[in-house]
Symmetry: C2
Subunit: 326 residues, 2 copies
Amino acid sequence: MTTSADNASPDFLQDLSAAVDAYSPRRKYLIGVSGGRDSMALLHGLRALGFRHLVVCHLDHGLRGAASRADARLVEKAAKKLGYRFLGESCQADLEAKSRGLSLEAAARQMRHEFLARCSRSEQCHDVFLAHHADDQIETVFLNLLRGTGTAGLGGMRSQTPLRVGKAEFILHRPMLGIRRESISGYITSCRIPFREDASNQDTRHTRNRIRRDALPHLRKLFSANIDEAILRTSIILQDEEAWMQTLVPAPAESLACEELRAMPKALRRRLILRWLREQNVPEPGFAEIERVLGLLDIEGPAKVNLPGGWHARRRNKVVFLERPQ
Amino acid sequence: MTTSADNASPDFLQDLSAAVDAYSPRRKYLIGVSGGRDSMALLHGLRALGFRHLVVCHLDHGLRGAASRADARLVEKAAKKLGYRFLGESCQADLEAKSRGLSLEAAARQMRHEFLARCSRSEQCHDVFLAHHADDQIETVFLNLLRGTGTAGLGGMRSQTPLRVGKAEFILHRPMLGIRRESISGYITSCRIPFREDASNQDTRHTRNRIRRDALPHLRKLFSANIDEAILRTSIILQDEEAWMQTLVPAPAESLACEELRAMPKALRRRLILRWLREQNVPEPGFAEIERVLGLLDIEGPAKVNLPGGWHARRRNKVVFLERPQ
């Protein structure tokens, strides 16, 4: 089958082709498609590059009524036209967010991952393509600077993220992380690929939309359009440094010897304590919690500090250990 | 001697006192004082904390005519009143910038460092207090994100920076890096400390002023005032990680074995190449230069790449080496 995508927008297809160089087009992959511009471009782009065995996965979050259902129909239709199998489900992300006690954004992401886990198991396929692109990455890095999330956050999204959801294990692949939104739009336009605008992308109650629609354009005007390249470069450098540093953090024992900790560089100490808190399942440890535990190393400081979820860390006999909530 | 500063603004003095806890007030220190709000607060604050032997250093950059000279007079008068020795010089930073082929900002900084080097040698004193504070730090980190300078840049200014200028070696100390501008202003007001506004701080042709006066206020309104704390937290984490990673980079030989480089994590490879280029005095190596050298490891890639200042890097017999400009 030939689509109009085969002959147009060489830039986008060239960049995408380079990005999926290591992926065999003959293998089977899942692909998450919302029906928006980015995922429709990825879907058609991979088709044009000869990927034969995509399984198109679409979760209707049930947040925009008839518009949501129309998205699902568009994606199903596109899958059929391109010769791909379609897996669709619908949910009520807003109700789930309440019952899970999560923000809508967090609940929706969790549900997408659970949906992909089901797709992964039923299809026996562990590789999922997602359409996050360079401008998404820039927004993510910028957002994480404003949240103060450290090196891991400033590295942004990875081109490959292994996930484990229940018993399912799969990998999210993001081949468009190096491709700018403009190039994607050019491809969509020149190949006349149908897509649907998500009206919630305009909603400035969402932090990410304020970054996309206000903060970044304002900064480009104030400084230069090169800030995008600079932020992308930052994400590349920091992602590699994060990966390297992760390999240097030893597996922590159940309790930590103060003297050993004190002998470590401060950055390693912080990373070891973070790993220790995570491995013992202290909920959402962050900078403040790490600093509190570090405070225990100071023998004149407190010998016990509070942690989230009713946990405590305590120093006794030159050792720091955790106490579970009762 | 007692100044009005002794009895007011406990917050500022408490924070400053904690920050200079490791410094003996009986020792001699140089202090860079421009006559602006921040350095005048630091000068009076250190006096209030009992620092007896400060030597007040002021360089008139000759950029604002009579206003520059009035700054110098104010600083000299304050030094005299507080019982400190005063060292003043004047220069023409704009003419020097031209003759050195540098931006005005870079030339002015270079000249300040040279001036401090002369003060350090004549006073036999190797410790210089500077008045950079938390809001300067936030601006620096933000500016460096927009420049894409990586971890070192995102860590911002260090609380101690060792410098070598010619034969002089001295350390810049920044005790106010954790103190917010607001607290400094409160101290200045409540103690009625005289200072002079630098009109060039309003000039939005300077990138830093655009960050201070436009970008950051805009982002605070768009998101929250917590972004300042988040950026400061980022700088603390990244500064410590930068220091740690620096200790892990081995001293490079004159030429680099491709196989050894290939076996290293990418982040370490980048840092080793940066150190190698710097130690061989290749001018201003950055991300692009490092990536070009890394490209030599790809045996199908080019065997020679251009570097700044007429330098080249070349691969031959599985080794990468530099060729000086002829």
